[in-house]
Symmetry: C2
Subunit: 354 residues, 2 copies
Amino acid sequence: MKKHNFSAGPSILPQEVLLKASHAVIDFNNEGLSLLEISHRSKSFVDVMEKARALVLELLGLEGKGYKALFLQGGASTQFLMVAMNLLEKRAGYLNTGTWSAKAIKEAKLLDDIYEVASSKEANYNYIPKGYDIPEDYDYFHCTSNNTIFGTQMKSFPDSPIPMVCDMSSDIFSRELDFSKFGLIYAGAQKNMGPAGTTLVVVKEDILGKVSRKIPSMMDYKLHIGAGSMYNTPPVFAVYTSMLTLEWIKGLGGIKAIQELNEKKASLMYSEIDLNPLFKGFSTKEDRSMMNATFTLQNDNLKDTFETMLKEAGISGLNGHRSVGGYRASMYNALPIESVKTLVEVMSELESKA
Amino acid sequence: MKKHNFSAGPSILPQEVLLKASHAVIDFNNEGLSLLEISHRSKSFVDVMEKARALVLELLGLEGKGYKALFLQGGASTQFLMVAMNLLEKRAGYLNTGTWSAKAIKEAKLLDDIYEVASSKEANYNYIPKGYDIPEDYDYFHCTSNNTIFGTQMKSFPDSPIPMVCDMSSDIFSRELDFSKFGLIYAGAQKNMGPAGTTLVVVKEDILGKVSRKIPSMMDYKLHIGAGSMYNTPPVFAVYTSMLTLEWIKGLGGIKAIQELNEKKASLMYSEIDLNPLFKGFSTKEDRSMMNATFTLQNDNLKDTFETMLKEAGISGLNGHRSVGGYRASMYNALPIESVKTLVEVMSELESKA
């Protein structure tokens, strides 16, 4: 039986993507070779890379607007450093909304001055700060769109007078936004896009080339753009599987269609959390993430019963992060609504038993 | 028909590894979930990472000798920078034996002073310099064990008075060496170990922690060691497939057994190059690579005939690198000797036709 996979990441991928990726490991494009053993400079793979890059811009509505898409390595954790290497000359402003924001700040501080425009750290990051100012003489403004650990999400973005950089690792391709408001978007693949091992970077070219430091080759966005995201051997399998997921999103009707499904899933989930007296949501209602619902069980005596029921229902990956405790239901794009219904039924059944 | 795959990298992997990797993309460990959609912190994947790291040290004969194995991202190109970040305080010595050495030198120079102990650039890198001195007051000595593009290989290594760092991307696990002579070994996976997307680093712990610079988190070997090679989400699929290949090597009898096979393949190949008047080897005989045989066709008029014959025989990936021209037969661990025999037969047949 296929499980109901609520894992926070690496996380569920569409079944048809997994089937195609599995086949390509044996025989890619009926070429008599595995995807893993062909040259990344072969036409077959260059086509994959180009298609993946083009699909990103198409799905985000950024075609012809001066943006380039790159598939790099090293995860969002490497982007924390790379963003600062490429954009930080004197000072940047960061919005601190959780563990990942804090890590981004820590890495950037190694290079230069960082100012926290606002932070929700004092409340264990259970809300998104609002009403902060972004100084127009800073180099850029950095934010994290969705906080996987705490289950909060930015519902709107400021009108930034300076390039806005956003870590969208855990909610890229999940909802419609005016992506042209951003100067740079980055996202580890392993939530909504593909397997762990590649990181998407979407950057407006005209924000680059303005810092005085010498940027090491592998850290240099301009170099990667010039090389068509193939400066060195790319993570072939992760890029191919991401391309398949992007095709799947397009086939469903693009981000608009995905967003409708995600709203339904989140609505089901949060209704149960709010109506069921056994459970309590962690984050402030207005900032609740459509991707990761964090909640606790109010009565510890029911823990074993609940977890046995979850197991029996084939539900996996529901453990909360240690910083928050309790449970976390990650409802990424590929999670079927049936999985959410199953979870909600278990929660509801627990109430009737209690 | 499965092709004879002489690709320089990404390159051929054992068929049984591909079958297992393909299956894991659908269902890993009969857990009802894909390898791509489970948490990297799950016991199942942590076991994979630990097994892969242990197998590396076991196969290299480095168990209990103060070394740690890491599976990182970013390719050898990232290691060019990372080595210098972690080890370069004042000055380091580099042996320049080809394109990859030159790139390693370029990145390290961004941080500090680099001295080329010797170079074969003047001869388009067709040999390995010997008899150079390694100053004992330098921080480290860097070399490239095998030069994929030019088809040369270091047959012996100096007794370095300072930590010896070696890029073994294209010949790791292909031959027995006293690996304890090295302070740090790195290798992109995509030749002898696995798919593109992970980079092996084997480092002697006591050479670390001696530089004064603040090292960014993702660049810091000590941090990755402390986190068990799981500081951030690792490239799960590439690590798993590498583990399968390491198991395959162990099953064959380890590096000793692999080396015997590789010697037979290389001997077949170079005998044909030397005996067949239509072909000429590129590199100096004593420095010829056991992994990559580079050669040219002496008579351009035969080019089309030869290439048609190669295609008909199912031989792929034989094109030489643009820096050398001609042909390059990459004979990595997983290439069956039958593939070399097929190639040699085609070369011999061309001679009888000419």
